[in-house]
Symmetry: C2
Subunit: 301 residues, 2 copies
């Protein structure tokens, strides 16, 4: 997805929120906004938002001089999600279609952003997503919730690349991975996190803290862009990316980075931004499982 | 009210929206964002948002090279509001407290912004504001809906200065002014609009188109800031401002500009922005009638 003009005011909003989240004082927050104002005119709209995002968050990191300003936020998210792991597993075991519920939970986990402060918000979101009426609405629209295709491709796949998004959310990913292995233990799942800290995106430490390493091979994308920007990824990751016969991509950042990729990708996320919702052809707040065939849209890689 | 850091991303959003509203193409929209990025770091937060707003909209006017890009939008708003004038008058004549209803309608008119496309939105808003339950809630909070004080001061006042906000909304102001005159025809009401075009703010032509000139003396503030920034107003206006024994101020822009004024002011608006709502001590969407005594807060003029 290209950067839309509406993303520009939003990047200013994001750097301000991120500076606050990192505990920066008012003067430093203003400095972050001012420095962004200096570089923004030079950023082309042909960049995907995570490419621009990398510039934005690198800039902030230089200003606040902390390598991982969201470390505590991430640790808290992991703990929060782990505290409800057993409850989530119960939801799966009680459900009629375990895989569907696991997919929905994995998407629901996408609400664990640094704004989420307690399990209450997660509970509310889970209720909304698992509500039978909402499920029926979702299933009516194959373009934005293509579970049939997901299940079909999953049955055939042997090497699955799973692109992580945020810390905390990782626990929900683990539950989906556990269900995939339960269907067929021969499947090999590679879970890719970011190489270095960027906002609250999951790193290898988060994957280990959430126990994903017990069910999947954990690797890094080689990049710290807030989305899988292929041109910034390591050769090792790219090799895995090319070999995978199924790619499961979590979160908006990965959708923005790969929505025009020349490989088939399943995008799982909650549409939290109106620009992305418009680009994806859905409504704000929608629970999304998009199958991107890698053929129909303009190639970006 | 000072400019908060949150206002900075919002100014980028506003200039983009305003450029689109003025029919600018994508390239020009980007130019407006880039030019704003160049000047924003130099703008101190001690400026009130309308002071910064003047810089933002002057910059846009220079880029799009149109003197009054919102002329059509304003004309449409005036026509829309005039088309429901008779209905609004009926609501007044049917109500138990005519003045209260007129005050509420004047505040409701504040939703006529350039985003409002038809009478449907206005109807929905009127129903919300005139709903008995919502009225009861409003009356419980004297700090944000001080109708008792408004009525009391109005009874005593002879020279009333009424600060206009948007085109279209002017029709709703006219209805309140008609009710004030109905109570006491000796009262002199001066209706102040902006001197030159700035977004969809009312000008003398709008006041005339909406018939305010038949019930009040229409003057200009001498400024085209999107709010009554006293340091930018004409001496003639300032003289009227100082002589008035009641000031009725419409809209968020005037609240932002005068919330720390050393004169008593009644602020009537709908809280459409979270930063203003926080500053005013209310919730987003609240119907506001704040009495500012001119004594309790830091002086800005």
């Amino acid at each position: 997805m290209k950067t839309y003009l509406d993303c520009i005011p939003c990047f200013f909003k994001q750097i301000l929120e991120a500076a606050r989240m990192a505990g920066a004082d008012e003067q430093t927050q203003r400095k972050a906004l001012d420095e962004l104002a200096k570089v923004m005119p030079g950023i082309p709209l042909t960049y995907s938002p995570p490419e621009t995002g990398k510039i934005v968050y690198d800039l902030l990191k230089n200003i606040i001089k902390k390598d991982d300003p969201y470390l505590k936020v991430k640790e808290k998210s992991n703990k929060l999600a782990l505290s409800i792991y057993n409850n989530l597993k119960k939801k799966i075991s009680r459900s009629h279609d375990r895989l569907l519920t696991a997919v929905e939970l994995a998407i629901a986990g996408n609400i664990i952003d640094y704004g989420v402060k307690n399990t209450l918000n997660v509970d509310v979101e889970l209720k909304r997503i698992l509500n039978e009426e909402n499920r029926a609405i979702k299933r009516q629209n194959k373009a934005t919730f293509n579970y049939v295709k997901f299940r079909h491709v999953l049955n055939e796949a042997r090497n699955i690349l799973y692109l992580a998004d945020n810390a905390g959310e990782v626990v929900f990913d683990r539950i989906l991975i556990e269900e995939i292995i339960r269907l067929d233990s021969i499947k090999k799942i590679i879970y890719a996190v970011k190489e270095k800290p960027v906002i609250n995106d999951a790193l290898i430490d988060d994957a280990i803290a959430c126990g994903v390493n017990t069910v999947a091979e954990v690797i890094s994308s080689g990049s710290d862009a807030p989305g899988t920007v292929l041109s910034l990824c390591s050769n090792e990751f790219l090799s895995t990316y090319r070999k995978a016969d199924m790619i499961i991509s979590k979160g908006q950042g990965n959708f923005e980075a790969l929505s025009r990729a020349n490989r088939p990708v399943f995008f799982l996320f909650i549409a939290k931004c109106p620009v992305i919702a418009k680009d994806a052809g859905c409504m704000l707040g929608d629970v999304i499982l998009i199958y991107h065939s890698g053929r129909s849209r303009k190639r970006s890689c």
